[in-house]
């Protein structure tokens, strides 16, 4: 196939981008090379619209071992133990095929974590759906929940917390964000940077099929009426093989055979091999005839762009091939030496004794486009006047029951009871609390994790909203007695080529950054999902924040249920009577404008630290953060969970 501008545009590249490729290569790429460029240069892999802004996030901290840039972030939790964690989106595939989309999302994030040598110990998820009245919602919700459970349960990693939201802005574009925490010894962390010349490059895991070809570009595409045509690119997850891959990789990692390892995620063999080469400032040469294929007559183009799941790429020490093969044979997985590292700083591909691609690595990575897109600043909306006479006819019990039955507030037990949340025998706080908590096996420590987003606040005012979520994450961790350490973030936004959407992104990130800096709660990993838009309608800006904290003595963990009669109930922090963007205003008064509640970072930090102090001194029996629905909902939940009554003056 002859490559020209038209073909390039069909690959999702812009005209200027195609020109730049020709200029960098000093020739027109062939079709395999074009496929590789289009995968590496699309938004999903290159972060071309977001890179500039993400750089501003605080990523360093006392406990940070590895910040963004690797498969996942790593933090120190003392005694040589470290936690590897990350959140990732699988929005587009889940809308097309909810079960497989969600399942492979969970599979993908777990691979990111165990690629670094960590055994996954907890999963979380943040899922957003359209209105409960919308005709697609029920099926999508059911499929996604089943998919998350189907994959996580089978692997045997507990799902300890999550978040489920409904809002009509997701009617045509649901969000599925999956997060995993893994545990590793500090001196046994594995990275993706290749090193050394003539080292064997190994392919392990499942065979390659035609599934998911161009998935990475789909993740950066807008849905339109032609969505049906994109369907064949859906991948099918095989959690059983992933479990075998996990055990086999950890077994091999126990020795000293691996130089670098990288999972094949978006853009499969392309991005994994190029990333390894780029980080190691090396070249990689692959013989595509050696790649284990599931289907017949696969072309180099298909092999390079397939997104078949449950596969890994490894650079091994010389002479360790037999040992490694034995382990993968034992676990009944494919194993093949498919190439070697070189000093050419190029990616060189061979097929049927012919060279089918020859691209300098830096043209794919360092020279990939970066855009400073136009963005529009948001104004802080004016506060609504509180009109007391509007409340006169309202009965508080009616209002409360209406608020409690809001789909965003009501009980989610039916969801998380479909997830195995107790396997591994260390879950000490199940879903249903402010954060999930798992013990570090065999120690007195535990880690807490939660995932939050407040799209309504971000939509009302992105800067404040961005700060708000980080604070909410911080509060959730504090509420269970954990010292917050770091966050991961999944930034779900609309089309960055529109200046309002880009503005939402820029300002949310700014808010996020300010709060995480002030709270010393750095960002160690994350993911951006743009183009969450159907027929021109974008979603509400939805950054999801996954927070992780440490409880030094798990026996001091706090839960939200009221424990005893006659205990005193305290509200910490000032109640200012802010009603704009509350459920009360939005649902009961039907007033959807106005600013989100203001954030005072000083108070946030002070309150949180004070609370933690009180907890360490065993003075707090129960705690719950006040969020959606306000104090009355917080109290109601504490009463319901504790099966206690409460008298409030």
């Amino acid at each position: 196939m002859k490559v020209d501008q038209k073909v390039a545009i069909e690959h999702g590249l812009k005209k200027e981008e195609f020109d730049k490729i020709c200029e960098l290569l000093k020739r027109v790429p062939n079709i395999v090379e074009l496929g590789i460029f289009s995968a590496m240069w699309n938004e999903h892999c290159s972060y071309k619209s977001s890179r500039l802004h993400l750089k501003k996030l605080p990523t360093k901290g006392k406990e940070v071992i590895q910040g963004p840039g690797e498969n996942a972030g790593v933090i120190n939790i003392g005694d040589d133990d470290a936690i590897v964690f990350k959140i990732e989106s699988h929005n587009h595939p889940s809308f097309i095929e909810p079960y497989q989309g969600a399942a492979t999302g969970v599979g993908g994030i777990m691979r990111d974590v165990f690629t670094m040598g960590a055994r996954p110990i907890a999963n979380l998820n943040s899922i957003h759906f359209g209105s409960t009245q919308h005709k697609k919602t029920k099926n999508l919700l059911r499929g996604v929940v089943r998919g998350i459970g189907g994959y996580g349960n089978c692997i045997g990693v507990p799902t300890i917390a999550g978040q489920t939201c409904f809002d009509e802005s997701y009617n045509g574009n649901i969000l599925v964000n999956a997060m995993t925490l893994g545990l590793v010894k500090k001196n046994k962390i594995f990275y993706s940077k290749a090193a050394g010349l003539n080292k064997p490059v190994i392919y392990v895991g499942s065979k390659t099929g035609r599934d998911g070809i161009h998935g990475a570009s789909m993740a950066s595409a807008i849905f339109d009426d032609k969505i049906e045509e994109k369907k064949p690119t859906v991948q099918v997850g095989d959690p059983f093989t992933e479990k075998l891959l996990l055990e086999a990789c950890l077994e091999l990692m126990a020795g000293d055979s691996i130089i670098s390892i990288q999972d094949m995620g978006a853009a499969g063999l392309t991005s994994s091999s190029i990333e390894m080469a780029s980080k190691g400032k090396l070249g990689i040469e692959l013989n595509l005839n050696k790649v284990p294929c599931r289907e017949t007559k696969m072309t180099p183009y298909e092999i390079m762009l397939s997104e078949s799941q449950e596969r890994m790429l490894i650079v091994l020490e010389n002479g360790k091939e037999q040992l490694a093969k034995k382990i993968f044979d034992k676990w009944n997985l494919d194993f093949a030496v498919i190439g070697k590292t070189t000093n050419s700083k190029k990616i060189e591909l061979y097929f049927d004794n012919e060279k089918v691609a020859d691209i300098p690595v830096d043209t794919l990575v360092e020279n990939s486009p970066m855009y400073d897109r136009k963005w529009k600043k948001s104004k802080l909306p004016k506060k609504n006047k509180i009109e007391k006479d509007k409340f006169k006819n309202l009965k508080i019990t009616n209002v409360l029951s209406k608020i409690l039955s809001n789909p965003n507030i009501c009980n989610k037990d039916w969801i998380w009871q479909q997830y195995d949340h107790t396997v591994m025998g260390d879950t000490i706080q199940k879903p249903g609390g402010d954060a999930g908590v798992v013990r570090i096996h065999g120690t007195n420590k535990a880690v807490a994790a939660s995932v939050d987003s407040s799209a309504v606040y971000c939509w009302a005012h992105p800067l404040t909203g961005g700060k708000q979520i980080v604070c909410e994450s911080w509060r959730n961790l504090v509420s269970v007695g954990a010292k917050p350490i770091a966050i991961t973030n999944c930034l779900n936004f609309g089309n960055p080529e529109k200046d309002e959407n880009m503005g939402e992104f820029v300002e949310c990130v700014q808010g996020l950054g300010e709060a995480s800096k002030y709270l010393d709660f750095p960002v160690v990993s994350g993911n951006v999902s743009f183009y969450n838009e159907t027929k021109d309608k974008g979603i509400k800006p939805t950054p999801s924040i996954g927070g992780v904290g440490l409880i030094k003595e798990y026996k001091k963990m706090v839960t939200l249920d009221l424990k005893k009669l006659n205990n005193i109930v305290l509200v910490i922090g000032k109640t200012e009577g802010h009603l704009d963007q509350s459920i009360f205003n939005r649902d009961i008064l039907n007033q959807k404008n106005g600013p989100p509640p203001e954030i005072n970072l000083f108070n946030e930090k002070n309150n949180g630290e004070t609370l933690l102090n009180l907890m360490m001194n065993d003075l707090i029996k129960s705690a719950h953060d006040v969020s959606l629905g306000g104090i009355i909902v917080a109290l109601a939940k504490m009463c319901i969970k504790g099966k206690k009554r409460n008298k409030i003056k």
Partner: protein, 77 residues
């Protein structure tokens, strides 16, 4: 009347179950099994005497519920 429906995975779609079954069969000594693909089978009892009409109904049911056309094909037999 009774309508029988077979739903199978599209060509090229990964079938982890089929693969595991094939490997097990091989392991059990059935060594000339080259591929196993697993699908679903439905017996549907429709209160409808006209075969043609029943099949049209069945077709609609497949499209709307029984088969996931993203990854599956169906056949009414």
């Amino acid at each position: 009347m009774k309508i029988k429906i077979i739903v199978t995975l599209k060509n090229g779609v990964l079938d982890p179950q089929g693969k595991a079954i094939q490997q097990t069969l091989n392991g059990m000594g059935f060594d000339n099994i080259e591929e196993v693909r697993q699908g679903k089978y439905f017996d549907v009892e429709i209160n409808e005497k006209d075969e043609k009409k029943a099949k049209i109904k069945a077709d609609e049911m497949c499209k709307k519920l029984l088969a996931n056309l993203v990854i599956e094909d169906y056949k009414i037999i």
